[in-house]
Amino acid sequence: MKYAFYPGCVSRGACPELYSSSVKVTEKLGIEIQEVVDVGCTGAGVLSRDLSDPINARTLAKVEAMGLSSLMTICSTCQGIFTQANHRFKNEPEYREKINKEYLAEEGLEYKGTVEVKHFLWVLMEDYGMENLKPHIKRKLTGLKVAPFYGCYIRRPTSIMAPKGLLGRKTYLEDLIELIGAEPVDSSGKSKCCGFPILTVNEDNSMRMVSDHTGDAKNKGADCMVTPCPLCHLNLDANQPNAEKKANTQIGMPIIHLPQLLGLAFGFDEKEMELQRHIVSTEPISRQLEVSIRS
């Protein structure tokens, strides 16, 4: 199956390691992706929907024009915004037509409502399948304790992000962590907000969320946290030193992107997955990987 690929702004900006690791891992798995380049930012929940809905309808129309019916994201926030907008476009045909007429027609575009938007995590679990992933595992990450951090956008609103029939989405990260031989660590904030959306508005609250989540994962014995969202990654990783300072504590919890974790199990080394780019040292991961290789 071929997917249109929407990397999102952050994987092209402050988290370039997410972009490169996603491309390498999808290539390794033989998942065919074609980047859709002439499209805009989703609005990330910041832009008013009056602005972001037409931009997102345009992106989906571009995917249809490519002759594709699936768009793969690697960012939970992009995924959440797309899913919510697409839900409106599919369920409110009059609204979709209004956007087509007022905004897209001028460019000769029309969104017909045929595109499914799927996060890389969903693509792996729902289209590719765990059985097909198994042969790609070159080294089991035995002993590595990984706390999944879904964040909020890929989980809610539940009625459209994890509807009946797809309730398994709530444990996909844990399923993958187990599949690659690592040990999932349950933390209380795994599906809560990371605090990124309010970083500018209320830094104190945002940093409190970071220290709560990373501190909880540390207390539960995790070696690292894994997230499918680069915005969660930015807040939990790049801002962790700021959060530590505000909470007057030391946490040092490495945060890795989902494709990086899988890449390590598929045989890529840490440099290929660009773990050295992270702000919080990923040394605990390297140490545990050495132990698992020796044993």
Partner: protein, 324 residues
Amino acid sequence: METTFKVYRFDPENGRKPDFATYTVDLPDSATVMDGLRHIRDELDPSLAFRASCDRGSCGDCALRINKKGKLGCTLQIAKTVKDGVVKVEPIRNIPVLKDLVYDMETFLWQKIKSVKPWITPREPEPDGEYIVAEEKLLEVRKAMSCVMCGLCDEGCVVIKIDKKFVGPAALTKAYRAVFDPRDGEHEHNERLTLVSEPGGVWDCTHCFEANGHCPLGLEPTTRLFEVRDEAIRRGIRSGTKNPKVQRHYDSFVNSVKRSGWLDEGRLAIESEGLTNIAGLAKLLPTVLRALPKGKAPLPYLHPKRPGTQAIRRIIEKAQRREV
């Protein structure tokens, strides 16, 4: 059905720490959690205090944490919630407890609801007769009208958990009810939208949609909150009077997407602080210095344009012209 109730007990007058008391009740399968609590109070322990009123899910008084989930006790059957023969009942979270299951709604909810001015001030001039409002204009407003102010959305709010000053989804749902009522006066409309855009208002919400999952009536408080925020933006209100940084952040985001099709993260950080705000910009430095050697600090204003930028700019400009 025989069930063990583990009930939170706290009496500020006895000086003891809060704990759980255990009661065994045997009630028909159709019994609700409130039936269980009433049975305990009437037959086993008259000292148990709890809030209850309508017994039909329309007053919101019996909002409780039952087996770790926020629920209305009067509409939840014991059989539907019992786990290993146990029903654990606690006050809702994030609220001062007065005694046992009785909590203080004043600071938790009532003051916050009052703060958004949840009433309509009719448009002038008043009509001779009654105000005639088209049914379709009130359909969504009616949903918000049916909020019973149980506070369960606030109970599940991740921001209120750490910041009691956040006005919260319940009060903002009440704001929605007034904001989208077509009878609301123009001046009051804008005044209310400015009010909810102040610090602690709509912009302090993380958009995590927790509240939607916690509302027992399915009123989708997070969705309402988004609509209030979008209505404020439509009217040119992109922050309150005391948080201009929010407006700078919003405007920079829009301008970045207009200029290059996507987000210039560096520019957003700088412009949100304000180009002349030396202290604010200096605060960004440690984060930038950590990110630079790792190649994680995109250079601001040198952001390459995406193909299709012109079409995206046209869309934004057209949408902005439609704002009031």
